[in-house]
Symmetry: C2
Subunit: 188 residues, 2 copies
DNA sequence: CGAAATATGTAGCAGTCGCTACAGTATATA
DNA sequence: TATATACTGTAGCGACTGCTACATATTTCG
């Protein structure tokens, strides 16, 4: 790795916590630079533009998140789809994932407003998340890909509910999943 | 209604389309004023501050949306929970609702970053949405409140998927709902 | 060693931000 | 009609935005 690439990585690592704390959409160069112990001048130098920096930050944080998720839960997958959803929601509500989810909603919002870079990044993050989730489902799940998409979509809905204080609605929604998936199985 | 209240309403009505087009989080006084045919000076005069204006805009748009939703779908509720979800997703993906959903994600994002005014507004919008949704469910739905929360949470997830270009994932998720709810029913 | 490439600090530009002081006009009320 | 209240235009303040010109180090390498 070139030295310049190492510098970039170090800067991103230093700015990551700042973004997790204060968000992505309202971030500006000078505060970011201060968090990284450098100047706006140098951020532009290393990342070309603010857009380049933001894209690099998203990639960095997405990588961190993906890495962290692979070891965050017990090796064994869940025993029911409902348990799987509960497990994931509980995880994403805990630190440090909560902060990542806030940034995630920033990305989603900007993507919705037409920011193509954010949209691409968001698309890929969902892809990765689906991949990860697929192997956390019960091994006997009939159509794991389909089930993963279903669970992830529901979980994303939970993130929205949480962010506006509708935690209880989210809880009920996840709970209702138990009824549905239970009705498709024999009683144990 | 006082004359000043009428002016406020007219201004909000003029700024609404601008917000629907360009988003809420990146809006600033001067462009908003231009869209309303007035000046930033007057916006501050009528709404006290930018925060006051944004809050009023959210309330205005939320009212418009709620009003529009009451007549947007056939009088008869859906025949299955799955149909209900499909109906709503299809509606929210069409104009003009698509634009409202983009603003909705702006609100969600800002609420997640700690904006209490946005969070309150978002909380209430979910409440209203739940109320509306509850009476669009099949009349024989066992626990309509619970089902409404479940469907709405899933629909919110669909909104996220859509905004990052994962429309197909959202489609599969909604489709998977058919399997689940079907498995709990007799085959017709 | 000396030249070339890389890295960094200083200072500032042109633009936007929310907001306000000041002055003035229109409108309503007494 | 006189006075108070509501409204609105002009102009600008101080802070912040992304970014850049210029000069200066520091490092790398033939």
């Amino acid at each position: 790795m070139t030295k310049s690439a190492k510098t970039r990585k170090a800067l991103l690592a230093a700015m990551g916590p700042y973004v997790l704390k204060y968000g992505l959409n309202t971030a500006s160069l000078r505060p970011l630079a201060q968090a990284a112990g450098t100047s706006d001048r140098m951020l532009i130098y290393h990342f070309g533009s603010k857009d380049g920096l933001i894209a690099a930050l998203i990639e960095h944080l997405a990588g961190e998140l993906a890495m962290s998720l692979t070891t965050a839960l017990p090796q064994e997958p869940a025993t029911t789809v409902h348990d799987c959803a509960v497990e994931i929601v509980s995880l994403l509500r805990s630190e440090p994932y909560k902060a990542y989810m806030r940034v995630w909603l920033d990305i989603v919002s900007a993507a919705g407003q037409g920011n193509e870079s954010h949209q691409r990044a968001g698309y890929l993050m969902i892809e990765g998340f689906l991949q990860w989730l697929q192997f956390r489902l019960p091994p006997d799940t009939p159509e794991p890909e389909r089930a993963a998409k279903f669970v992830l979509t529901l979980v994303e809905g939970v993130m929205i509910m949480d962010s506006v204080g509708q935690t209880q609605t989210a809880d009920v929604a996840v709970d209702a999943l138990a009824d549905l998936s239970a009705s498709g199985k024999e009683t144990s």
